[in-house]
């Protein structure tokens, strides 16, 4: 990978909180336009890693670089122009309409006492059109379903005009159709906007089908970093998850997929 194409880089990065080491000596780099899935057991430090990049968590030893500059060198507003964190579609109360909400997400481009400009409105329209959220532009965000909400959060990343998206379990809690819709949106963003997508997920099957590369964390350390096909080997999976997983062939893609094991079989 050419150095100029590296948009995210971690170098010997460690992070501890309350005396507990959450990330230890993590090093990797992610190139522009890549789709990287971050997997690993619960408590491996996946979400913490995302939050450290976006400076939701400060501190830690070693360096994290965004577009070739250490994260501390950015003003938070300038960081937001490059990086967007897309949280889980949780039950947080947001009392604004989708359109108001997305306009507020234009924050890095707004100034304190100025009115909303035409460019802001257009960016928001565009983001809603690309994500299929125009139809609920006037709905209050808190009244949307999980799938609709996740789409709006993705629209927020678009409206924010950030080229790097950090997603925290974007398909968790969604039904099969919404999962497909969200994954299609991410694939579209990667294709059309050359967005770099870093998604924390527990769904290895999706990771294998969608991602260019998989990064696996265990107890805060990187235990696998490579193409998805190389991860779908029983021994590798055993090393990551500490349990034996059952694999079958995907009927279309031909890749190994994980299926649940039947108890007492």
């Amino acid at each position: 990978m050419n150095n100029a194409d590296v948009v995210l880089r971690a170098e010997h990065f460690s992070y501890a909180c309350g005396g507990k080491t959450i990330l230890r000596d993590v090093s990797f780099s992610i190139g522009r336009g890549q789709y990287v899935a971050i997997v690993g057991p619960n408590g491996a430090g996946k979400t913490t890693l995302l939050k450290c990049f976006d400076r939701l968590l400060d501190g830690g030893a070693g360096t994290l670089e965004i577009d070739g500059r250490p994260r501390q060198s950015y003003r938070q507003k300038d960081l937001a122009k490059r990086l967007a964190y897309v949280p889980q579609a949780d039950s947080r109360q947001i009392p604004f309409t989708v359109e108001q909400f997305l306009l507020m997400c234009r924050y890095p481009y707004l100034s304190a006492f100025a009115a909303v400009r035409k460019t802001d409105r257009e960016a928001v329209r565009q983001a809603m059109a690309s994500t299929g959220t125009l139809e609920f532009a006037e709905r209050i965000l808190s009244t949307l379903s999980g799938g609709e909400r996740q789409k709006v959060y993705i629209a927020a990343a678009l409206a924010q005009d950030a080229a790097i998206w950090l997603l925290d379990e974007p398909t968790t809690f969604l039904d099969y159709r919404r999962q497909q819709e969200i994954l299609a949106l991410l694939a579209q963003a990667k294709r059309e906007f050359r967005a770099t997508i870093v998604a924390v997920t527990h769904d290895l099957n999706h990771a294998v089908l969608e991602a260019d590369r998989v990064l696996a964390l265990k107890d805060g350390s990187v235990v696998f970093n490579g193409p998805p096909a190389e991860m779908m080997i029983p021994e590798v999976l055993q090393r990551i998850y500490g349990t034996e997983l059952l694999l079958v062939q995907h009927p279309q893609a031909g890749m190994p997929m994980i299926v649940p094991r039947k108890n007492n079989a």
Partner: protein, 338 residues
């Protein structure tokens, strides 16, 4: 569009209250007193030296308390947050109590010692909370700040009770009377002019952070990821609110309830977007406190012959409490939702 009309309506209401309040009271004052009348006319003195300063002070206090409540409710994402949440009011009360206890009948540049004591108490509390925040572990959330403020309030309240216990009845009465809050001590424009810069600075700082307040409502992770420099914004808000509320409490005592209910009522009127909510709350809060103070200084006039008044802190809760409960019954969403 509709919202800006409601804000405009709030402005008209505030103007009407400001214009009418100085002419309401025990002494009937003709409109002509405004442009002089005769020099020796006592009514001109009452209007310019007592009524107008008092109305202005009440308006400033209401504005500051509402601005504080609005921004703290967004910052803490807690509908029960008030401008006194971080302990500013109890700190000021402790300062005032110490002055009463020491028999502080002194004045400094025309400012009574009790006011100075209260201001010092408020500032000291702000410092304490800031120190606490700086030393707290990195993961300390706003909830920790909230709890620290509450703990500090209880601690100060106990100290006040302890000092009251040691005081003689006269002192105890004066302390109790001060903690009810009121405008009775406002004579002339000097005090208004002293409070004005605090309130204007505080309100301007809060207004400058209007987009940040909206984003904070969505959660801190969301706000930071949209580019809000959280530490600086939080610090500025704590500082701005503490400064103006501290100044108001020092001169008027801890006036409760305004900072809690005015933001909620305005949220029902114009919605949660601070670009409409903040101006509405500033105007309505000021007007509401002027109305309460006017009621407080006139209502006893109709029942007794002696000139007497009820402290405004008593009126705010007496008028506001039932009204607020009535509003809560009528709204559709739960109280936890903004």
């Amino acid at each position: 569009m509709k919202k800006s009309w409601i804000v405009f309506g709030c402005a008209l209401f505030a103007l009407a209250v400001l214009a009418a309040a100085p002419f309401i009271g025990m002494e009937r004052i003709p409109l002509s007193a405004l442009w002089g009348g005769t020099e020796n006319d006592a009514r001109v003195g009452i209007l310019w030296k007592l009524r107008i300063p008092r109305v202005l002070m009440a308006f400033l206090a209401g504005t500051a308390l509402s601005a504080g409540g609005t921004s703290f409710q967004a910052l803490f994402r807690n509908p029960l947050a008030t401008p006194f949440t971080l302990g500013v009011a109890s700190g000021a009360s402790l300062g005032a109590t110490v002055c009463f206890f020491l028999g502080g009948d002194f004045a400094w540049w025309g400012v009574p010692g009790v006011t100075i004591g209260a201001l010092l108490g408020a500032l000291l509390t702000v410092l304490l909370v800031a120190l606490f925040a700086a030393r707290a572990p990195a993961g300390a959330t706003t909830a920790t700040m909230l709890l620290a403020g509450v703990a500090l309030s209880f601690f100060f309240s106990s100290l006040i009770l302890f000092l009251q216990y040691l005081s003689d009845p006269t002192q105890t009465f004066r302390i109790l009377r001060w903690t009810m809050g009121g405008m009775a001590n406002v004579v002339g424009l000097d005090e208004v002019l002293l409070v004005l810069p605090f309130v204007v600075t505080g309100c301007l700082l809060v207004a400058y952070l209007i987009h940040e307040l909206n984003l904070l409502l969505m959660g801190e992770d969301f706000a930071v990821s949209r580019g809000v420099a959280l530490r600086g914004v939080k610090r500025t808000l704590y500082f701005a609110v503490s400064l103006m509320v501290g100044a108001v409490v020092a001169f008027c005592g801890p006036i409760g309830f305004v900072g809690l209910i005015v933001p909620h009522v305005c949220r029902l009127l114009v919605g949660p977007d601070h670009r409409a909510l903040l101006p509405a709350a500033l105007l309505t809060g000021g007007a509401f406190l002027v109305v309460c103070d006017t009621v407080g200084r006139t209502v006893l006039f109709f029942t007794t012959t002696a000139p007497a008044e009820i402290p405004v802190g008593v009126i705010t809760a007496l008028l506001g409490g039932p009204f607020f409960l009535w509003i809560l019954l009528g709204r559709r969403s739960g109280p936890g939702e903004f």
